[in-house]
């Protein structure tokens, strides 16, 4: 009897152990504490198109004119989009905690996929133009935050949030260098894109947004490149420029469509 009672106990313990193991495996399948249900969740691809004055960016040609009247070119255009957040009609938010480096010269970098996005109606998008302070105080990162991208300062630990390098024509008609390296914690810019309403479902799983350089240099602060063409975010003289660009980022991104 004693032996059998032990076996019974053993059976019980084994069952419980099995159950614990089974449930611990199950936990792994949950994402952020929500068990995905195939019908209500899916992946969403976000595609960013880069333009200047509504025209696609062409590189290395003096093709664009900003609101201040400066003709300019783009040799390099890269920036970080992070902590992409979708805001539902009921006001609830989902921050995907992602870090994406967009290189306008390489369309394969201009889209990213968010997993387990709830189907439904949404009213706004929010993200950071830049890298939050949690990840901005070390460059010991891989993926899109790998410092090999050149989007870091080597003398001042942190990410260059936005880089535009090219040239512009100054007041006397001379072509001059244009170098904008925008960053530091204080420059982290929150981009809010309010939208009347958009739906995400199995037929609408690609979200298109546009970034426009001319808008960045236009509103609400008009950026004139003359005498203002070289900024690395490390001088007191960069401060006004930093503040102006930081404010302008929100209006430089617009919602296009979901399809």
């Amino acid at each position: 009897m004693n032996i059998y009672s032990s076996i019974n106990k053993f059976a019980g313990i084994t069952l419980i152990t099995g159950a614990i193991l089974f449930s611990s495996c199950r936990t792994k399948d949950k994402i952020n504490g929500i068990t995905p249900e195939i019908k209500n969740y899916g992946s969403l691809t976000v595609k960013v198109s880069n333009e200047a004055g509504g025209q696609p960016i062409t590189f290395g040609t003096m093709s664009f004119t900003n609101a201040a009247g400066n003709k300019y070119s783009v040799d390099l255009l890269k920036y970080f989009v992070s902590n992409f957040t979708l805001i539902r009609n009921d006001g609830s938010e989902r921050n995907f905690g992602n870090y994406k480096l967009i290189d306008a010269s390489d369309t394969s970098t201009c889209s990213f996929t968010l997993d387990s996005v709830a189907n439904g109606s949404y009213k706004a998008i929010r993200f950071y133009l830049g890298v939050d302070s949690l990840h901005n105080h070390t460059v010991l990162n891989q993926g899109d935050l790998n410092p090999i991208s050149g989007m870091v300062w080597s003398w001042n630990t942190g990410y260059i949030f936005f880089k535009h390098e090219g040239s512009y024509i100054n007041d006397t008609g001379t072509s001059k260098i244009l170098l904008y390296h925008f960053g530091t914690d204080a420059a982290l810019s929150t981009v809010d894109i309010p939208i009347t309403q958009f739906d995400i479902n199995s037929n609408k799983k690609t979200l298109y947004i546009k970034f426009d350089l001319n808008s960045l240099y236009n509103a609400p602060n008009t950026i004139n490149f003359t005498g203002n063409n070289f900024h690395q975010s490390t001088e007191l003289s960069d401060r006004i420029w930093l503040g102006n660009l930081r404010t302008n980022f929100s209006s430089s991104f617009t919602f296009d469509k979901v399809q």
């Binding site: 059976a11 070390t138 460059v139 870091v152 001042n156 007191l236």
Partner: protein, 354 residues
């Protein structure tokens, strides 16, 4: 009996289920997966504080050895002519002999004196202005600096990945078949954390195994005396000999190099530089961020009478009396500073070219 049979069946079924479930869980585990290198036993001499080693970069025998090889290997410079050790020479406590400024691979001189690489593992920010926020991130500075090794990170990593030896060494230290930037930074930082000095004559005196002369003891007292040397406000006595904070020590009232200000853009940080450790100070001339002083006597003269009353001068110095030290006081303080030389450190075979 029925009950007993049933319980056996239940037990068997439960065991089977557990096994299946355990196996299912195990599917994620690769038996060949990298489980980490051999833990490195870091010995911290008594008198020094506990070292906070980041959890994401524990010291391993393989990682430290790799970092040491990289520290001495010119592969990290663009034309393979300079390594970290080119400007950080062990014989001079890892400074650049007696040079005011070091010369990079393109023959261009920098604007700041090569720093003393001692007890880095106890420090939080690096470079004279603290621009590097951790020891790992510091690594990419000199590699990419145009007046130092002038190499791109992408090319440095490419050279390491196509080298005949490094991929195997990195794999032993960090696992994986491809070297990445994090592994490079982690390896060098690991080696640097082992570069500990704590066996100077002064340390031996604190442990009771050496005696200081009357002059050295007097120098120690003057070093601490707030009305004389007043050195310990910044160069904390007894362990690291620095608070590793950023201070304006009155070198100039108009700054050619704004120092910490370049990092924070705070006007109050103008002309501030990191307090350097005084360990091995007799070996690290010239002194100050720009190497303007060639002797310790000049440094003491500066703190005694030479400092400028600028807007951002450190409060401790702005209230210090000019001329408070006699010539003999300064001579005695220098005698004490000479006891901070750690010959075991500059001769330690573990830090030499492998």
């Amino acid at each position: 009996m029925k009950t007993n049979k049933l319980s056996i069946i239940i037990t068997a079924a439960a065991l089977l289920l557990s096994t299946v479930v355990i196996d299912a869980c195990k599917k994620d585990i690769n038996p060949d997966a990298f489980t980490g290198g051999t833990p490195y036993l870091l010995i911290i001499p008594s008198g020094l504080p506990k070292m906070d080693i980041p959890a994401n970069n524990p010291l391993t025998v393989e990682g430290v050895a790799l970092g040491r090889k990289l520290f001495y290997d010119p592969i990290l410079s663009a034309n393979r002519t300079m390594s970290c050790a080119s400007c950080h020479n062990q014989s001079y406590s890892f400074t650049d002999s007696n040079k005011q400024f070091s010369t990079g691979i393109d023959g261009i001189k920098g604007t700041r004196n090569a720093m003393n690489l001692v007890n880095l593992g106890f420090q939080k920010k690096f470079f004279w202005d603290g621009g590097a926020a951790d020891l790992e991130s510091q690594v990419i500075g000199p590699i990419q600096n145009p007046v130092e090794m002038h190499e791109s990170l992408a090319n440095a990593i490419h050279k390491l990945n196509t080298d005949s030896v490094y991929p195997g060494l990195f794999k032993k230290a960090f696992g994986g078949d491809t070297i990445n930037t994090s592994m490079l930074m982690m390896a060098i930082a690991q080696f640097e954390r082992t570069m500990i000095s704590g066996n100077s004559k002064y340390d031996q005196y604190v442990r009771g195994v050496a005696t200081l002369t009357a002059q050295e003891l007097n120098g120690k007292q003057l070093f601490e005396d707030a009305s004389k040397g007043d050195c310990t406000h910044c160069h904390v006595l007894g362990s690291t000999f620095s608070d590793f904070e950023f201070k304006n020590n009155g070198l100039d009232s108009i700054y050619t190099d704004p120092g910490r200000y370049k990092i924070t853009l705070l006007a109050s940080d103008s002309g501030k530089f990191k307090t350097p450790s005084l360990r091995n100070i007799a070996l690290t001339a010239p002194y100050m961020h720009d190497g303007r002083f060639t002797t310790l006597q000049q440094c003491l003269d500066h703190y005694n009478t030479g400092f400028h009353y600028g807007a951002h001068l450190d409060p401790v110095l702005s209230t210090a009396v000019k001329g408070r030290m006699t010539a003999q006081d300064m001579t005695d303080i220098i005698a004490f500073l000479n006891t901070l030389t750690d010959t075991a450190f500059i001769n330690n075979p573990a830090f030499k070219h492998p």
